[in-house]
Symmetry: C2
Subunit: 250 residues, 2 copies
Protein backbone atom coordinates (compact mmCIF):
# COMPACT_ATOMS: atom_id res chain seq x y z
CA UNK A 1 0.00 0.00 0.00
CA UNK A 2 1.39 3.38 -1.00
CA UNK A 3 1.24 5.88 1.83
CA UNK A 4 2.39 9.46 1.58
CA UNK A 5 5.28 10.15 3.93
CA UNK A 6 5.97 13.40 5.77
CA UNK A 7 8.99 15.63 5.76
CA UNK A 8 10.63 16.22 9.16
CA UNK A 9 9.68 19.39 11.00
CA UNK A 10 12.13 22.25 10.70
CA UNK A 11 14.00 22.76 13.95
CA UNK A 12 17.36 23.12 15.64
CA UNK A 13 18.50 19.56 15.00
CA UNK A 14 22.17 20.46 15.39
CA UNK A 15 21.56 22.15 18.74
CA UNK A 16 19.52 19.20 19.97
CA UNK A 17 22.35 16.81 19.12
CA UNK A 18 24.98 18.97 20.82
CA UNK A 19 22.83 19.44 23.93
CA UNK A 20 22.24 15.69 24.19
CA UNK A 21 25.93 14.95 23.78
CA UNK A 22 27.03 17.58 26.29
CA UNK A 23 24.44 16.39 28.82
CA UNK A 24 26.02 12.93 28.48
CA UNK A 25 29.45 14.29 29.33
CA UNK A 26 30.43 14.36 25.65
CA UNK A 27 30.88 10.60 25.81
CA UNK A 28 31.72 9.04 22.43
CA UNK A 29 28.55 8.30 20.44
CA UNK A 30 26.30 9.62 23.18
CA UNK A 31 24.67 11.56 20.35
CA UNK A 32 24.78 10.97 16.61
CA UNK A 33 24.87 13.76 14.06
CA UNK A 34 22.93 12.63 10.99
CA UNK A 35 23.70 14.61 7.85
CA UNK A 36 21.53 14.17 4.79
CA UNK A 37 22.65 15.39 1.37
CA UNK A 38 20.29 16.35 -1.42
CA UNK A 39 21.25 13.36 -3.56
CA UNK A 40 19.77 11.04 -0.92
CA UNK A 41 23.06 10.26 0.79
CA UNK A 42 23.05 10.05 4.56
CA UNK A 43 25.92 9.89 7.02
CA UNK A 44 26.15 9.47 10.76
CA UNK A 45 28.89 11.00 12.89
CA UNK A 46 29.89 10.83 16.51
CA UNK A 47 28.77 14.20 17.87
CA UNK A 48 31.34 14.05 20.68
CA UNK A 49 33.97 15.21 18.18
CA UNK A 50 32.38 18.66 18.57
CA UNK A 51 33.81 18.61 22.09
CA UNK A 52 37.18 16.98 21.47
CA UNK A 53 40.17 18.28 23.42
CA UNK A 54 43.16 19.98 21.72
CA UNK A 55 45.44 16.98 22.28
CA UNK A 56 43.12 14.88 20.08
CA UNK A 57 42.98 17.32 17.16
CA UNK A 58 44.62 16.82 13.80
CA UNK A 59 47.97 18.55 13.35
CA UNK A 60 46.52 21.15 10.99
CA UNK A 61 43.61 22.00 13.27
CA UNK A 62 46.04 22.57 16.13
CA UNK A 63 48.31 24.63 13.91
CA UNK A 64 45.41 26.89 12.85
CA UNK A 65 44.13 27.17 16.41
CA UNK A 66 47.54 28.34 17.65
CA UNK A 67 47.51 31.15 15.05
CA UNK A 68 44.55 32.94 16.67
CA UNK A 69 45.24 35.89 18.92
CA UNK A 70 43.74 39.10 20.32
CA UNK A 71 39.96 39.25 20.35
CA UNK A 72 38.58 36.20 18.55
CA UNK A 73 35.22 35.57 16.84
CA UNK A 74 34.65 31.88 16.16
CA UNK A 75 32.11 31.54 13.34
CA UNK A 76 30.15 28.30 13.50
CA UNK A 77 31.55 27.48 16.92
CA UNK A 78 29.50 24.31 17.47
CA UNK A 79 29.97 22.92 20.97
CA UNK A 80 32.89 25.20 21.79
CA UNK A 81 35.70 22.84 20.85
CA UNK A 82 37.93 25.78 19.93
CA UNK A 83 36.47 28.61 21.98
CA UNK A 84 36.60 26.89 25.37
CA UNK A 85 40.34 26.13 25.26
CA UNK A 86 41.06 29.65 23.94
CA UNK A 87 39.17 31.07 26.90
CA UNK A 88 41.08 28.71 29.19
CA UNK A 89 44.27 30.27 27.82
CA UNK A 90 42.95 33.69 28.78
CA UNK A 91 42.09 34.81 25.27
CA UNK A 92 39.10 37.08 24.66
CA UNK A 93 36.74 34.99 22.56
CA UNK A 94 33.17 35.13 21.33
CA UNK A 95 31.39 32.20 19.71
CA UNK A 96 28.82 32.55 16.95
CA UNK A 97 26.54 29.81 15.74
CA UNK A 98 23.29 29.63 13.78
CA UNK A 99 22.04 27.02 16.25
CA UNK A 100 20.46 28.40 19.45
CA UNK A 101 21.07 25.01 21.07
CA UNK A 102 24.77 25.16 20.27
CA UNK A 103 24.96 28.71 21.65
CA UNK A 104 23.33 27.53 24.88
CA UNK A 105 25.86 24.76 25.26
CA UNK A 106 28.81 27.10 24.71
CA UNK A 107 27.41 29.65 27.15
CA UNK A 108 26.94 26.86 29.66
CA UNK A 109 30.63 26.14 29.24
CA UNK A 110 31.36 29.72 30.29
CA UNK A 111 32.17 31.33 26.95
CA UNK A 112 30.39 34.34 25.48
CA UNK A 113 28.38 33.19 22.49
CA UNK A 114 25.65 34.60 20.25
CA UNK A 115 23.20 33.24 17.70
CA UNK A 116 24.10 34.31 14.20
CA UNK A 117 25.39 33.26 10.83
CA UNK A 118 27.21 34.55 7.78
CA UNK A 119 26.72 36.51 5.63
CA UNK A 120 23.95 38.20 7.64
CA UNK A 121 25.95 39.10 10.73
CA UNK A 122 24.06 40.99 13.38
CA UNK A 123 25.26 44.53 13.96
CA UNK A 124 26.97 45.33 17.23
CA UNK A 125 29.35 42.42 17.44
CA UNK A 126 32.27 44.84 17.36
CA UNK A 127 35.64 44.20 15.79
CA UNK A 128 37.92 41.22 16.17
CA UNK A 129 41.62 40.53 15.65
CA UNK A 130 40.97 36.99 14.55
CA UNK A 131 37.84 35.58 12.91
CA UNK A 132 37.89 31.81 12.65
CA UNK A 133 36.06 29.39 10.36
CA UNK A 134 37.28 26.14 11.90
CA UNK A 135 36.24 22.54 11.55
CA UNK A 136 35.89 22.84 7.76
CA UNK A 137 33.85 26.01 8.19
CA UNK A 138 35.32 27.48 5.04
CA UNK A 139 32.27 25.50 3.99
CA UNK A 140 30.15 28.37 5.33
CA UNK A 141 31.25 30.40 2.29
CA UNK A 142 28.50 28.27 0.70
CA UNK A 143 29.83 28.34 -2.85
CA UNK A 144 31.50 30.66 -5.33
CA UNK A 145 28.35 32.80 -5.68
CA UNK A 146 27.90 33.49 -1.98
CA UNK A 147 31.55 33.45 -0.91
CA UNK A 148 32.04 37.15 -1.67
CA UNK A 149 29.13 38.21 0.51
CA UNK A 150 30.51 36.12 3.34
CA UNK A 151 34.01 37.53 2.91
CA UNK A 152 32.57 41.05 2.86
CA UNK A 153 30.63 40.31 6.05
CA UNK A 154 33.79 39.04 7.74
CA UNK A 155 35.49 42.30 6.77
CA UNK A 156 32.93 44.27 8.78
CA UNK A 157 33.95 42.49 11.99
CA UNK A 158 37.71 42.36 11.46
CA UNK A 159 39.98 45.08 12.83
CA UNK A 160 42.55 46.63 10.51
CA UNK A 161 45.47 44.24 10.61
CA UNK A 162 43.20 41.44 11.81
CA UNK A 163 42.99 38.02 10.23
CA UNK A 164 40.37 35.48 9.31
CA UNK A 165 41.63 31.92 9.61
CA UNK A 166 39.71 29.03 8.09
CA UNK A 167 40.05 25.34 7.52
CA UNK A 168 38.66 23.39 4.59
CA UNK A 169 38.92 20.11 2.77
CA UNK A 170 39.72 19.51 -0.86
CA UNK A 171 36.77 17.65 -2.38
CA UNK A 172 39.00 15.11 -4.14
CA UNK A 173 39.10 13.99 -7.74
CA UNK A 174 37.39 11.37 -9.82
CA UNK A 175 38.43 8.65 -7.42
CA UNK A 176 36.43 10.29 -4.61
CA UNK A 177 33.42 8.39 -3.28
CA UNK A 178 31.64 11.68 -3.93
CA UNK A 179 32.62 11.86 -7.64
CA UNK A 180 29.06 11.19 -8.86
CA UNK A 181 27.76 13.98 -6.61
CA UNK A 182 30.45 16.34 -7.87
CA UNK A 183 29.43 15.54 -11.45
CA UNK A 184 25.77 16.18 -10.60
CA UNK A 185 26.78 19.55 -9.14
CA UNK A 186 28.58 20.53 -12.33
CA UNK A 187 25.61 19.34 -14.40
CA UNK A 188 23.27 21.68 -12.54
CA UNK A 189 25.64 24.63 -12.67
CA UNK A 190 27.07 24.36 -9.19
CA UNK A 191 30.66 24.16 -8.00
CA UNK A 192 31.95 20.58 -7.79
CA UNK A 193 32.61 20.70 -4.06
CA UNK A 194 29.32 22.24 -2.98
CA UNK A 195 27.08 20.13 -0.77
CA UNK A 196 23.45 20.91 -0.10
CA UNK A 197 22.86 19.30 3.27
CA UNK A 198 20.68 19.32 6.33
CA UNK A 199 21.15 17.97 9.83
CA UNK A 200 18.49 15.61 11.15
CA UNK A 201 17.77 14.52 14.70
CA UNK A 202 14.73 12.44 15.68
CA UNK A 203 11.67 14.27 14.32
CA UNK A 204 13.36 17.50 13.27
CA UNK A 205 15.73 18.74 10.61
CA UNK A 206 17.48 21.99 9.86
CA UNK A 207 16.62 23.71 6.61
CA UNK A 208 18.78 22.68 3.65
CA UNK A 209 21.93 24.76 3.39
CA UNK A 210 24.97 24.93 1.14
CA UNK A 211 28.33 23.94 2.50
CA UNK A 212 31.35 24.25 0.24
CA UNK A 213 34.45 22.09 -0.05
CA UNK A 214 36.50 24.21 -2.46
CA UNK A 215 39.85 23.05 -3.76
CA UNK A 216 42.73 25.14 -2.46
CA UNK A 217 42.90 26.65 -5.99
CA UNK A 218 39.23 27.66 -5.80
CA UNK A 219 39.59 29.27 -2.40
CA UNK A 220 42.72 31.07 -3.64
CA UNK A 221 40.75 32.39 -6.63
CA UNK A 222 37.78 33.52 -4.55
CA UNK A 223 40.06 35.40 -2.18
CA UNK A 224 41.99 36.95 -5.08
CA UNK A 225 38.70 38.30 -6.49
CA UNK A 226 37.74 39.76 -3.14
CA UNK A 227 38.10 43.49 -2.66
CA UNK A 228 38.81 43.09 1.04
CA UNK A 229 41.19 40.19 1.43
CA UNK A 230 44.51 38.78 0.34
CA UNK A 231 45.67 35.26 1.02
CA UNK A 232 48.50 35.48 3.53
CA UNK A 233 49.14 31.79 3.98
CA UNK A 234 47.84 28.46 2.77
CA UNK A 235 48.90 25.49 4.83
CA UNK A 236 48.18 21.93 3.73
CA UNK A 237 47.53 19.04 6.03
CA UNK A 238 50.58 16.76 6.22
CA UNK A 239 48.36 13.69 6.08
CA UNK A 240 45.10 14.38 4.23
CA UNK A 241 43.05 16.60 1.94
CA UNK A 242 42.62 19.33 4.55
CA UNK A 243 44.11 22.81 4.40
CA UNK A 244 44.06 26.04 6.35
CA UNK A 245 44.08 29.58 5.02
CA UNK A 246 44.98 32.83 6.72
CA UNK A 247 43.64 36.00 5.11
CA UNK A 248 44.87 39.53 5.47
CA UNK A 249 42.98 42.70 4.75
CA UNK A 250 44.11 44.30 1.49
CA UNK B 1 17.71 28.82 -4.43
CA UNK B 2 15.28 25.89 -4.53
CA UNK B 3 16.88 22.76 -5.89
CA UNK B 4 15.09 19.46 -6.32
CA UNK B 5 16.59 16.75 -4.15
CA UNK B 6 16.87 13.08 -4.99
CA UNK B 7 15.62 10.02 -3.16
CA UNK B 8 18.27 7.47 -2.16
CA UNK B 9 18.76 4.51 -4.47
CA UNK B 10 17.05 1.32 -3.39
CA UNK B 11 19.58 -1.18 -2.11
CA UNK B 12 20.58 -3.53 0.66
CA UNK B 13 21.30 -0.83 3.22
CA UNK B 14 20.86 -3.18 6.15
CA UNK B 15 23.29 -5.71 4.68
CA UNK B 16 25.83 -3.00 3.95
CA UNK B 17 25.69 -1.83 7.57
CA UNK B 18 26.06 -5.36 8.96
CA UNK B 19 28.94 -6.17 6.61
CA UNK B 20 30.75 -2.97 7.60
CA UNK B 21 30.25 -3.69 11.29
CA UNK B 22 31.33 -7.31 11.03
CA UNK B 23 34.42 -6.34 9.00
CA UNK B 24 35.32 -4.02 11.88
CA UNK B 25 35.15 -6.86 14.37
CA UNK B 26 31.67 -5.79 15.49
CA UNK B 27 33.29 -2.96 17.45
CA UNK B 28 30.76 -0.62 19.07
CA UNK B 29 29.61 2.06 16.64
CA UNK B 30 31.83 0.76 13.86
CA UNK B 31 28.65 1.02 11.77
CA UNK B 32 25.50 2.99 12.36
CA UNK B 33 22.04 1.75 11.47
CA UNK B 34 19.95 4.71 10.38
CA UNK B 35 16.20 4.09 10.48
CA UNK B 36 13.85 6.59 8.90
CA UNK B 37 10.13 6.56 9.63
CA UNK B 38 7.49 7.86 7.26
CA UNK B 39 6.64 10.82 9.53
CA UNK B 40 10.14 12.22 8.96
CA UNK B 41 11.63 10.84 12.16
CA UNK B 42 15.13 9.44 11.98
CA UNK B 43 17.09 7.40 14.49
CA UNK B 44 20.63 6.10 14.63
CA UNK B 45 21.62 2.87 16.34
CA UNK B 46 24.87 1.10 17.07
CA UNK B 47 24.87 -1.77 14.57
CA UNK B 48 27.18 -3.84 16.78
CA UNK B 49 24.14 -4.80 18.85
CA UNK B 50 23.29 -7.15 15.96
CA UNK B 51 26.33 -9.13 17.05
CA UNK B 52 26.05 -8.90 20.82
CA UNK B 53 26.94 -11.98 22.88
CA UNK B 54 24.36 -13.85 25.01
CA UNK B 55 25.81 -12.54 28.28
CA UNK B 56 24.93 -9.00 27.18
CA UNK B 57 21.32 -9.70 26.25
CA UNK B 58 18.29 -8.55 28.18
CA UNK B 59 16.78 -11.11 30.54
CA UNK B 60 13.76 -11.68 28.31
CA UNK B 61 15.83 -12.18 25.16
CA UNK B 62 17.91 -14.77 26.94
CA UNK B 63 14.78 -16.45 28.30
CA UNK B 64 13.25 -16.69 24.81
CA UNK B 65 16.52 -17.87 23.29
CA UNK B 66 16.77 -20.72 25.83
CA UNK B 67 13.28 -21.92 24.80
CA UNK B 68 14.38 -22.87 21.27
CA UNK B 69 15.11 -26.51 20.51
CA UNK B 70 15.27 -29.07 17.74
CA UNK B 71 15.68 -27.71 14.23
CA UNK B 72 15.44 -23.92 14.36
CA UNK B 73 14.53 -21.35 11.69
CA UNK B 74 15.49 -17.82 12.74
CA UNK B 75 13.36 -15.36 10.77
CA UNK B 76 15.05 -11.98 10.31
CA UNK B 77 18.31 -13.30 11.70
CA UNK B 78 20.34 -10.14 11.08
CA UNK B 79 24.02 -10.64 11.85
CA UNK B 80 23.50 -14.01 13.50
CA UNK B 81 23.27 -12.83 17.09
CA UNK B 82 21.01 -15.73 17.98
CA UNK B 83 21.87 -18.32 15.34
CA UNK B 84 25.63 -18.38 15.93
CA UNK B 85 25.43 -19.20 19.66
CA UNK B 86 22.70 -21.81 18.96
CA UNK B 87 25.02 -23.44 16.44
CA UNK B 88 27.83 -23.24 19.00
CA UNK B 89 25.60 -25.23 21.35
CA UNK B 90 25.22 -27.86 18.67
CA UNK B 91 21.68 -26.98 17.66
CA UNK B 92 20.58 -27.39 14.05
CA UNK B 93 19.78 -23.85 12.92
CA UNK B 94 19.02 -22.03 9.70
CA UNK B 95 18.96 -18.26 9.41
CA UNK B 96 16.60 -16.37 7.11
CA UNK B 97 16.89 -12.71 6.24
CA UNK B 98 15.56 -10.45 3.50
CA UNK B 99 19.00 -8.85 3.26
CA UNK B 100 21.53 -10.67 1.05
CA UNK B 101 24.31 -8.83 2.88
CA UNK B 102 23.07 -10.10 6.24
CA UNK B 103 22.86 -13.64 4.85
CA UNK B 104 26.46 -13.37 3.64
CA UNK B 105 27.63 -12.28 7.07
CA UNK B 106 25.85 -15.14 8.82
CA UNK B 107 27.19 -17.68 6.32
CA UNK B 108 30.65 -16.26 6.88
CA UNK B 109 30.14 -16.98 10.56
CA UNK B 110 29.55 -20.63 9.67
CA UNK B 111 25.78 -20.87 9.97
CA UNK B 112 23.42 -22.00 7.22
CA UNK B 113 21.41 -19.01 6.07
CA UNK B 114 19.12 -18.15 3.16
CA UNK B 115 17.66 -14.99 1.67
CA UNK B 116 13.95 -14.75 2.28
CA UNK B 117 11.18 -13.03 4.12
CA UNK B 118 7.68 -13.53 5.45
CA UNK B 119 4.98 -14.06 4.33
CA UNK B 120 6.47 -15.14 0.98
CA UNK B 121 8.66 -17.98 2.21
CA UNK B 122 10.53 -19.86 -0.47
CA UNK B 123 9.47 -23.47 -0.87
CA UNK B 124 11.92 -26.17 0.13
CA UNK B 125 13.00 -24.83 3.50
CA UNK B 126 11.62 -27.94 5.16
CA UNK B 127 10.04 -28.13 8.58
CA UNK B 128 11.33 -26.78 11.86
CA UNK B 129 10.71 -27.47 15.52
CA UNK B 130 11.22 -23.84 16.48
CA UNK B 131 10.66 -20.77 14.34
CA UNK B 132 11.95 -17.59 15.96
CA UNK B 133 11.06 -13.96 15.45
CA UNK B 134 13.61 -12.43 17.79
CA UNK B 135 14.91 -8.93 18.34
CA UNK B 136 11.38 -7.47 18.17
CA UNK B 137 10.72 -9.41 14.98
CA UNK B 138 7.09 -9.88 15.93
CA UNK B 139 7.31 -6.61 14.03
CA UNK B 140 7.60 -8.65 10.83
CA UNK B 141 3.90 -9.49 11.20
CA UNK B 142 3.63 -6.01 9.67
CA UNK B 143 0.24 -5.11 11.10
CA UNK B 144 -3.15 -6.64 11.84
CA UNK B 145 -3.97 -6.97 8.12
CA UNK B 146 -0.84 -8.90 7.16
CA UNK B 147 -0.28 -10.79 10.43
CA UNK B 148 -2.54 -13.66 9.41
CA UNK B 149 -0.63 -14.28 6.18
CA UNK B 150 2.62 -14.29 8.10
CA UNK B 151 1.25 -16.67 10.72
CA UNK B 152 -0.05 -18.96 7.94
CA UNK B 153 3.36 -18.90 6.28
CA UNK B 154 5.03 -19.82 9.57
CA UNK B 155 2.64 -22.77 9.83
CA UNK B 156 3.97 -24.18 6.55
CA UNK B 157 7.48 -24.47 7.99
CA UNK B 158 6.61 -25.64 11.50
CA UNK B 159 6.48 -29.34 12.37
CA UNK B 160 3.43 -30.66 14.21
CA UNK B 161 4.17 -29.91 17.85
CA UNK B 162 6.67 -27.24 16.84
CA UNK B 163 6.64 -23.72 18.18
CA UNK B 164 7.13 -20.21 16.90
CA UNK B 165 8.71 -17.93 19.52
CA UNK B 166 8.73 -14.18 19.06
CA UNK B 167 9.67 -11.05 20.93
CA UNK B 168 7.96 -7.70 20.68
CA UNK B 169 7.61 -4.37 22.39
CA UNK B 170 4.45 -2.70 23.60
CA UNK B 171 4.19 0.63 21.78
CA UNK B 172 3.36 2.53 24.97
CA UNK B 173 0.53 4.91 25.75
CA UNK B 174 -0.10 8.60 25.42
CA UNK B 175 3.07 9.41 27.33
CA UNK B 176 5.18 7.70 24.67
CA UNK B 177 7.50 9.90 22.61
CA UNK B 178 5.79 8.19 19.68
CA UNK B 179 2.25 9.20 20.75
CA UNK B 180 1.83 11.66 17.87
CA UNK B 181 2.88 8.99 15.40
CA UNK B 182 0.48 6.50 16.95
CA UNK B 183 -2.33 9.05 16.61
CA UNK B 184 -1.40 9.63 12.96
CA UNK B 185 -1.57 5.88 12.38
CA UNK B 186 -5.07 5.69 13.83
CA UNK B 187 -6.10 8.71 11.76
CA UNK B 188 -5.09 6.96 8.55
CA UNK B 189 -6.69 3.65 9.50
CA UNK B 190 -3.58 1.86 10.69
CA UNK B 191 -2.85 0.11 13.95
CA UNK B 192 -1.35 2.42 16.58
CA UNK B 193 1.90 0.50 16.86
CA UNK B 194 2.63 0.12 13.16
CA UNK B 195 5.75 1.81 11.85
CA UNK B 196 6.48 2.35 8.18
CA UNK B 197 10.24 2.50 8.08
CA UNK B 198 13.27 2.08 5.88
CA UNK B 199 16.94 1.56 6.63
CA UNK B 200 19.40 4.00 5.10
CA UNK B 201 23.15 3.71 4.64
CA UNK B 202 25.23 6.22 2.70
CA UNK B 203 23.61 6.52 -0.75
CA UNK B 204 21.17 3.64 -0.49
CA UNK B 205 17.97 2.78 1.33
CA UNK B 206 15.77 -0.26 1.65
CA UNK B 207 12.22 0.03 0.36
CA UNK B 208 9.71 1.22 2.94
CA UNK B 209 8.26 -1.62 4.97
CA UNK B 210 5.80 -2.04 7.81
CA UNK B 211 7.04 -3.14 11.20
CA UNK B 212 4.51 -3.66 13.96
CA UNK B 213 4.76 -3.02 17.69
CA UNK B 214 1.48 -4.57 18.86
CA UNK B 215 0.37 -4.44 22.46
CA UNK B 216 0.37 -7.83 24.12
CA UNK B 217 -3.45 -7.66 23.90
CA UNK B 218 -3.27 -7.09 20.14
CA UNK B 219 -0.89 -9.97 19.57
CA UNK B 220 -3.11 -12.17 21.74
CA UNK B 221 -6.11 -11.22 19.61
CA UNK B 222 -4.34 -11.81 16.30
CA UNK B 223 -3.23 -15.24 17.44
CA UNK B 224 -6.73 -16.08 18.74
CA UNK B 225 -8.15 -15.27 15.29
CA UNK B 226 -5.56 -17.46 13.60
CA UNK B 227 -6.69 -20.86 12.36
CA UNK B 228 -3.26 -22.35 12.92
CA UNK B 229 -2.02 -21.09 16.24
CA UNK B 230 -2.82 -20.83 19.92
CA UNK B 231 -0.92 -18.71 22.39
CA UNK B 232 0.94 -21.07 24.70
CA UNK B 233 2.77 -18.50 26.77
CA UNK B 234 3.18 -14.76 27.05
CA UNK B 235 6.13 -13.62 29.13
CA UNK B 236 6.64 -9.98 30.00
CA UNK B 237 9.99 -8.31 30.43
CA UNK B 238 10.74 -7.74 34.13
CA UNK B 239 12.13 -4.29 33.37
CA UNK B 240 10.54 -2.80 30.29
CA UNK B 241 7.78 -2.83 27.65
CA UNK B 242 9.10 -5.97 25.96
CA UNK B 243 7.38 -9.33 25.89
CA UNK B 244 7.85 -12.76 24.37
CA UNK B 245 5.20 -15.10 23.03
CA UNK B 246 5.32 -18.81 22.37
CA UNK B 247 2.73 -20.20 19.95
CA UNK B 248 1.47 -23.73 19.58
CA UNK B 249 -0.25 -25.26 16.60
CA UNK B 250 -3.98 -25.66 17.18
Amino acid sequence: MELPSKEPEIGDAFGQILAQCWAAGAAPWSAVEIIERDDGRIDAHDASTYFSEPERWAVLERWAWERAGGRILDVGCGGGRHTVPWAARGLDVMGLDASPGAVNVVRGRGVECVVGSVPDLLPGLGKFDTVTLFGNNIGLLGGPQTAHQVLDALATVTRPGGRPIGTGTDPGGDDSIHAAYHAWNVERGRSRGQARIRVRAAGIATTWFDYWFPTSEEITEVVAESACWALEELQRSPDGPGYAVILLRR
